[in-house]
Every structure is written in C-alpha cells, then in structure tokens.
Amino acid sequence: MPDLEITNLCFLDRGPYSFHIAGGECVGLRGASGTGKSLLLRAIADLDQRTGTMRLGEVQADEVAAFLWRRMVALLPAESCWWLESVGEHFADFAAVQDDVLVGLGFDRSVGNWHVSRLSTGEKQRLAIIRLLANQPHCLLLDEPTASLDQCSVSRVEELLTRYSQNNNVPMLWVSHDPVQLGRVCHRRFLMENKGLLVDTGVVQDGRSTTYSH
C-alpha cells in the first residue's frame, strides 16, 4: 500500500518540510491565502526546483522519471486548463473512464464530446477531477477542489474522492479554506502559518473513524 513520505523538502526559501501521510489517509491543509499552500503541492508534484527526498510506497521521486512521478502523485490545481476542442480529447482514453465516476459527478458519457469553450467553471472543475482520476493516481494533492462548486456538487466530489482514496489506499493532501469541509473529509490537519511554517494540528476530533491502516 502506498504511503507518502516527505523528508526535508525545501524549495524557494521555504522548508524544510517533513511529514508522512499513510495510504488511505486524508490530511487537510489550511492557512491564509498567500502562505504557500499551493507552492507546497507544486513542490511535491516536482514542478518547482527543490531539494529533499520524497517517497511514495516503494518509489523514490528521484529514481523515476518526473512524468511518471506526476502520474502517480497527481496534483489538481485550483484552476484547471483545457487546451483542445472537446473534453474527451484531454483524456488518454476517454472510453476507459468508468461510468460510476461520470455519473457520480453528474455527467453522462456524452460529456466527452462537449466543447470546452462552453463549459462552466464548475463543470470544468468536476471534469478536471475526472480527468485526474482517469490516470489512476496513487496519491492525490488537491488544491481547493470544491472552491467553485455548488453545495450539491461539493458533497458529490467529497464522496467520490474519499471513496477513491479509501478503495485504493491512496494518501490525500486536501487544501481548503473551509474548516467544516476538512472536518468532514480529513483524518488529520496541517495549518500553514506565515512564511510557510507548517504546523500539525493533529487528529480531527469529530468522531470520524480513523481506521485507516498505517
């Protein structure tokens, strides 16, 4: 089962960051805007220059090609980009996307032919999540995954991502400004303070079962 181990991760003038997320565990990350939460996610996805070691399960980041690491450690940016004409073209194989994922986020198979230029912000966000999961990632880094969604979609996304994480023993790092949401989806919480200082604020105390395995 994959777990994510970050050791002495430094980038820009930040760090060192060291923490561990177990397989199937969801860790929430909160903090004021501009403290560098997104930067931390980018560094873990190896998109910026960094030092330190990162390990996912048996795999050391520096021992695999960067694009393979990013396929395993999937980053969902706060704003997704779509560069081709139709939605389906952005998938390696749209036909392989499971029906329950599409339905789970309120789409059907015809969405593959939709024009990107006519997608709403919320639709783009939900489709970005589907696109990300289609890569079968082994770790999820989520940058405010529900920021642009209505309440109904928020629950659907939370449910889908939690189910994916539980079923596949996937560690998740979930950035959100909503403490209530983090209470719902996370087992543990980090707080990012000024200058990127990361504080482990401990296990979420709302009775949510913490039976994920280490």
Binding site: A45, D46, L47, D48, Q49, A65, A66, F67, L68, R70, R71, A74, L75, P77, E79, S80, C81, W83, R131, L132, N135
Partner: protein, 274 residues
C-alpha cells in the same frame, strides 16, 4: 557587357526619396524619421565597407581572410537573433543557440554547395563563397529568430497550459509538441512564401543582380533555383536545431518549465532590416 556604373549623384537622388519620406513622417508624426535615417546610414556605411573588404578579398584569394570574414558575419548574425526576440534566453546559451544553429546549417550547406555542387577551384574562391554564405546566413537568421521568438513567446503565454499538461503526466516533449511545430512553421514561412511567389510576383535579388551584371537570364535562373533550395534547407535545419536546443534549455531534467531562464519581455529598439 558591363554594368552601368552609378555616380554619387545617382545615389544622392535615391537618398532624396528617403529625405522626402522622413519629412512626411515628421509631418504625420509617425516618429519614423530617426529610424529611417539610422537605417539608411547603416546600410550605406556597412555596404561601402563590405565593398572594400570584398575587393581586397577578391584580390588575395586565401582561405584565412575568408574564414575571418565568415566568422564576423556569423557573430553579428548571432547578436541580431537575440535582439529580435522579445524574451530571449538569458546568459551565454541564448546567444549560443542562435549562433550555433546558424553555424551548423549555413556553414554546412554553403560548404556542400561550394565543394560538391558548384565545384569551383579553389573551393574558397571568395567570389562564390561570400555571396552564398551571406545569403544563407541572412535568411537562416530571419528564420531562426522568428522561430525562437515564437517559441518563447507562446510558451510564456501558455505556461499554465504547459504546466497543466505536465501535472497530468505528459513529458516535456509531449507538452510542447504543438508549440514546437508552430514555431518551426513560422520560421520556415518567409522562405516558403518567397519560393511560392518567386518569378511570378517577385524577382529575387541575386537573379536580378546577375541579369544586371550581364549573365544570360537562364543561367541566372538556375543559380537562383539553387540558392532557393539551399536557403530552404538551411533555414529548415537551422530552425529545427535552434528549437530543439531552446526546448532543452526551457525544461530541466525533471521536466519542469523553467521560464525564469528568459529575460523579461522588453523588446530592444527595432533594428533595421537586412
């Protein structure tokens, strides 16, 4: 048959046209007067200078001075490629890419033409070597500069898309495939267009010169076809080398987009054309 020589008065007459243009620009507040003046002065000085250099070179046929002149031409072209880019690569690499690409393409193609195709003895006969190299360098310079400018500018504008594609697990090569293609295309466009309209809309400069100099039109046309092919090949190879090289510099070994290696986007003052 010899060329009708031009007197200074003839050139002064042509210059008075530019003076008129400058006056008009001043009246219409186009702000072009200064640039027209500088461009005209540069053309006059540079061409007079090269005229004397060539006269010397033709009098003493030897590969040494020829190589020296070729090197100077290459270095100036390399500087010009940088000057024509809005966001050039910082440091020695920015200069090296343009210069290296032009060296590889222009010099090899010129050598091939001199040694194999034209087969003049000696091969370094400056009467052939310098005009050939000059035409190839001038055209590859345009192509390489256009392509590099297009590549860096598009990468800058589409940086979010590139990074999104990297996040989805694409390699750097996959993530810039379309941009690379567009960049190479835009570098090739001028020569492809020139080839498409040659003889129908425009009469290329070298052919015109040869005809003015008294060659038979058919000989001149054959040389012009040769030159067009050489320029097309040189520009194509040069552009591809430059774009590949540039791409390697803009991503690192971890397939990260490294746009901080580009200088900020202020174009230096427009340079006069060739």
């Amino acid at each position: 048959m010899d060329v009708q020589p031009l007197t200074p008065t003839d050139l002064a007459l042509a210059a008075s046209l530019l003076l008129l243009l400058g006056l008009l620009s001043w009246r219409l507040r186009l702000g072009l007067g200064r640039q027209i003046f500088i461009a005209a002065a540069r053309t006059t000085v540079q061409l007079l200078l090269i005229g004397h250099v060539l006269r010397l070179l033709f009098a003493h046929v030897h590969p040494g001075p020829l190589l020296l002149l070729a090197t100077i031409m290459l270095l100036v072209a390399g500087r010009e490629v940088i000057a024509r880019q809005q966001r050039a690569l910082r440091g020695i690499h920015g200069w090296l890419i343009g210069t290296g690409a032009m060296f590889i393409s222009s010099f090899t193609v010129t050598l091939l033409a001199l040694l194999v195709i034209i087969g003049q003895t000696p091969w370094y006969e400056p009467r052939y070597a310098i005009p050939l190299l000059g035409m190839l360098l001038g055209n590859t310079m345009t192509g390489v500069a256009l392509a590099m400018d297009r590549m860096t500018e598009t990468l800058w504008q589409q940086r979010h898309i590139i990074e999104q594609r990297l996040m989805l697990g694409q390699t750097a090569t996959q993530a810039v495939a379309e941009i690379r293609r567009q960049a190479i295309r835009s570098g090739m466009m001028p020569i492809l267009n020139a080839m498409a309209t040659a003889g129908v809309v425009s009469l290329p400069g070298m052919m015109t010169g040869q005809i003015l100099g008294g060659s038979s039109p058919l000989d001149a046309v054959q040389y012009q076809i040769l030159i067009m092919f050489l320029i097309c090949a040189g520009t194509g190879f040069g552009t591809m080398v430059a774009i590949r090289w540039l791409e390697q510099q803009l991503f690192d070994h971890r397939h990260r987009l490294r746009l901080e290696r580009l200088s900020s986007g202020t174009r230096k003052t427009l340079q006069a054309g060739p």
